[in-house]
Structures are given as C-alpha cells and as structure tokens.
Amino acid sequence: MKQFLLTILLIVLCLTNIFTGSVDIPFTETLHILSGQDNGINPSWSYIILQSRLPQMLTALLCGAGLATAGLLLQTAFLNPLAGPSILGIDSGANMAVAIVMMLAGGTITMMGTTLGGYFLVILAAMTGAMVIMAIIASLSTLLKNPVMLLVTGVMISYITSSFISLLQFHTTEHGLQAFTFWGMGGFTGVTLERLPVFAGLMSVCLVLSILHIKPLDAILLGDAYAQNLGINTQHMNRRLFLIAGLITATSTAFCGPISFVGLATPHISRMLCRTATHRTLIPTTMLLGACICLLCNQLCTLPSSTTLPINTITPLFGVPVILWVILKGNRE
C-alpha cells in the first residue's frame, strides 16, 4: 500500500520534473515534444525537454534510488544506523581521485600508448577512489560497528581527502580548478542523453544486485554469529554488500558529483514509514523513496527562475534532522 502511494508520488514528481522548470513551456507543447510531434514548435523548447529535463529526471530518479539503497546496504552490513555513503567518506574518496585526474593530470592520462580522457577517465577515477576507501572501511569493519568510531573514521577520511584536494587546488591550472569546482557542486545536469545509457546501465545492475540479496540481508540483521548459524558466509556476504554499495556511490559520484545525506537519511524514513526492518519491504520502499527525494530536490533546485542551485544546498535540509533524530533516539534507549 505504501509502495503504491510512493509509486504514484514518483510518477507525479517525474511529470513535474518534465513539465516545469526555469523556462516556461506550455503544457500541450511539452506533450507534443514528448510524443515526437515537434513540427513547428520552438526548437529550443524541444531541446530543453529532450536534452535537458528528460535525462535530468531519469538521472535524479536512478541516483536517488541507488544512493538510498547503498545507504541501506551499508547500515545493514555494519549494523550501524549512521552508516551511509557520504558519512563513511566513500564519495570523498571518489572526489579525491577525480580531483587528481582533473587537476593533476589535466584531464587526460596516457597509459600504454592509449590516451584516456574526458568522462570515461572521470568515471574510472571515481570508481578507483571509492573502491580504495571501501577497502579501507571493510578492513576496519569490526571497529565500525560502534557508531562513534564510524563517525570518527568517516570524518578523518573526509579531512584527509579535503586537505589533499585543497593542496591540488592550490597548484592546479585555472582550467582544472574550474572543471573540478563545477563537477564538485553536485547535480543531475551532468548526465546528457548520450551519457545516460552508461549511467543507467551501471545503476540498474547495482539495483538488481541489491534486490538479489534480500534474504541474506535479513539474516545479517541478527549479527554475524546468528547469520553464520543460518548458513551464511558473513565475511563473503559483507564483502559483496560493500562492493555493491561502493559501486553505486562511485557511479553516482562520477556522474553527478558528491551528493550528501540521501544515502543516510532515506533508509530511516522508509523504516519509519513501513514500520519494519525486513528487506523484502525495505529495499523497494527505499528505492522508491530515494528516487522521490532526489526528484523533489532537483525540482526545488530549478525553482529559482534565473539559476539552478547545486543539489547539495537542499539535501542537508532533510538529512541533518534525520541524523539528529537517530542519535537522540539511540541515547534515549
């Protein structure tokens, strides 16, 4: 029932993302453009709908669903309500790797006679950065079951990466700095219609993989010993969950820049909505809710008529209250 309402909300948000924006395009014209009958319609309107709003809507949808799922996987794997892609510094790792590529290497790397450049290189860098941090976190996983240690570790990783990035920014060219700053603001505008298939493909694979782990995820909630007794190789399983969550974070960071709080807050809101911790319900709800939240944020970002705000100006507004709520509730019990 709740999933049904969320699906309706999702559809409504998808439509408002397409039909409204900084440029006023009449409703019927938009319909014509979407149905391919754009004869005699202002070509720039057609361009805005098909090349900007449509890919942006799909990107926000997939990014939200992905990040929220990554947060849920991490919270279950660590048995820690404060785990999430941005809190753990996974996106900082991706961020740093992208910074190195954009500012130190000038956007291209020549390796074994082939030159890598542009978006492909950014994606590869973000993946590598995210996976390196993921590996560090995985090796500390027993330590990170403690919420305080997890926060401290995440903050430390973020400090180290941001100081490294500052150093790079100090020494880079104007061009590199501009490219990195623009990318780092985060947003769903970077994925053009040409890049969308790669992004959508990667995200969809990760989302499907997450759904395939519904049963072991439930058992992991009982802790390592009980899960092992139920026949699960917990070490193996945790590694797989870390890999999926890392891949989601890397993909979303590579294409949309670091997006904060969606991964951490959404699973908590879905738990409150559904009043359950079982993943058969939580995974689909979290995906739907994450998509809705990112679409809503994207909508709010385009509301000011002249400019588009960076997405990270909006996400903390609902992310921070959720973190505070989790900490306060934890102390009360």
Partner: protein, 232 residues
C-alpha cells in the same frame, strides 16, 4: 541426535583453550556447561557449532538444519519485529528470496506458542525485556527445527524468576520435544537442580562430565566452587 566430542582440543591459532575433551551430548537431555570465566565455555560452544575449527580431535558435524544457537547479546535493530526474527529460523528451508509458505507460518506460530511469545509477535525487539527477547531467540531456534540447540549464557541478564522459567522451558524442550540441549551458565545452584547432565570446565583446560550427584560425589563440584560453596 547425539553429538560426540572425540579428543577435542579447542583454541585459537597457537593458543590452546581446552584439550582432550571427550563427551557425548545426549538427545532428550538438558546439559549445562559450567565453569569459571575464561575456562573456555564460549570457545567450546563455538567449536561445537562449527563457527570455529577444532585444533585437533573432532566433534560431530552439524549445519543450519541440525544445530541452532541462542546467544547472550540482544538483537538491537530498530523496527525489527519478534515475528520476523522467529521467521528467520526458516531461512535454511526457504527459497532464494526467503518467501514463507503456509507451512512455514504454521511452524513459526507453533514455535512462538511453545515459548509463550505469541503475544509479542508484533512487538519491536528493542521494546522487549531481556527475558522476553531471550525467549524470542529460543523460538527462532525452535522454528529452525534443529535437533540440537546450543545456548551461550542465555540467562546472564535475566531476573531470577525469568532464569528459572527459561531453565524449565529448556528442560521441557529436551524431555518432551526430544531436543539435544547444551546451555552454558554461571547459575550453579539452578543448573544443579534442573540439568540432567553437567559439563564442568576447569581452568586447566580439562572437563568433567556427569550428573549433579556423580560430580558431587567425586568432589569436582566442591573443587569448582571452593570457599563459595557455603553461600550456595
């Protein structure tokens, strides 16, 4: 199902905890594992359950269909209901996505009835008392339908009446449901009164087994208790 410990040595890497243990864990009996802190009770339970490999010797092989465990620590997960926890006992039997059949539901219901936790089915695990939470974990073990159940200090945080009711429940499960039960505890007097068999671990890594009477007559219990015996 009987479990046989054959010249079993437990420990980690180069560190031996207990050595040369020979015992039979008998079907239909409640066996209590006693011993001072650090004598290797938990290590032995982990070795029997297969979570840890023996350093040498052997113990009867078990899997998720033949052996279930109940631990001291509580499940502390928000919005996790008692019913869902008991339902996880069915995991070894359900399909890829863990969908429960009508038969599974019936088994879960019965497990909760046997343990008197049916009224708690919609409660969050975090809202249960320690005794209630422990009974839910026992219900989960029952839903797993394993002939053997191992319990690692299940009564550690319980008040006295709850300790007694837990011990009586375990004895009932052994006697009337034919379960093989091994339970570690520090409640010596309660174990002496309720257990069919006692396994007494010593700090030197050895273990004596027998009924309360046998172990009293050989003086093993007196050695274990020392001066504290007069307060029992």
């Amino acid at each position: 199902m009987n479990l046989i410990l054959d010249n079993l040595t437990t420990g980690y890497g180069h560190k031996t905890v207990s050595c040369g243990l020979n015992a039979i864990l008998q079907e239909g009996r409640l066996t209590c594992l006693l011993g001072p802190n650090g004598s290797g009770k938990s290590t032995l339970l982990r070795t029997i359950s297969g979570a840890q490999r023996p350093l040498s010797g052997s113990v009867t092989k078990t899997d998720s269909h033949t052996l279930s465990i109940v631990l001291t620590s509580r499940i502390d997960v928000a919005q996790l209901h008692a019913w869902d926890v008991v339902a996880m006992g069915r995991h070894p039997y359900t399909g890829y996505f863990g969908k429960l059949t009508a038969l599974d539901d019936e088994i879960i219901l019965e497990a909760m009835q046997t343990t008197g936790t049916l009224d708690l089915r919609n409660r969050n695990m975090t809202s249960l008392s320690d005794g209630e939470a422990q009974k839910v974990m026992i219900a989960k073990a029952l839903a797993q339908q394993t002939p053997v159940i191992l319990l690692d200090e299940p009564s550690a945080f319980l008040d006295f009446p709850s300790k007694v009711s837990l011990m009586l429940m375990m004895r009932n499960l052994a006697h009337n449901h034919g379960k093989t039960i091994l339970l570690s505890t520090h409640d010596v007097s309660l174990a002496l009164k309720t257990a069919d068999t006692l396994w007494l671990m010593n700090t030197d890594g050895t273990m004596h087994t027998g009924t309360a009477q046998q172990l009293s007559s050989t003086g093993d219990i007196a050695t274990f208790l020392g001066d504290s015996a007069q307060y029992l």
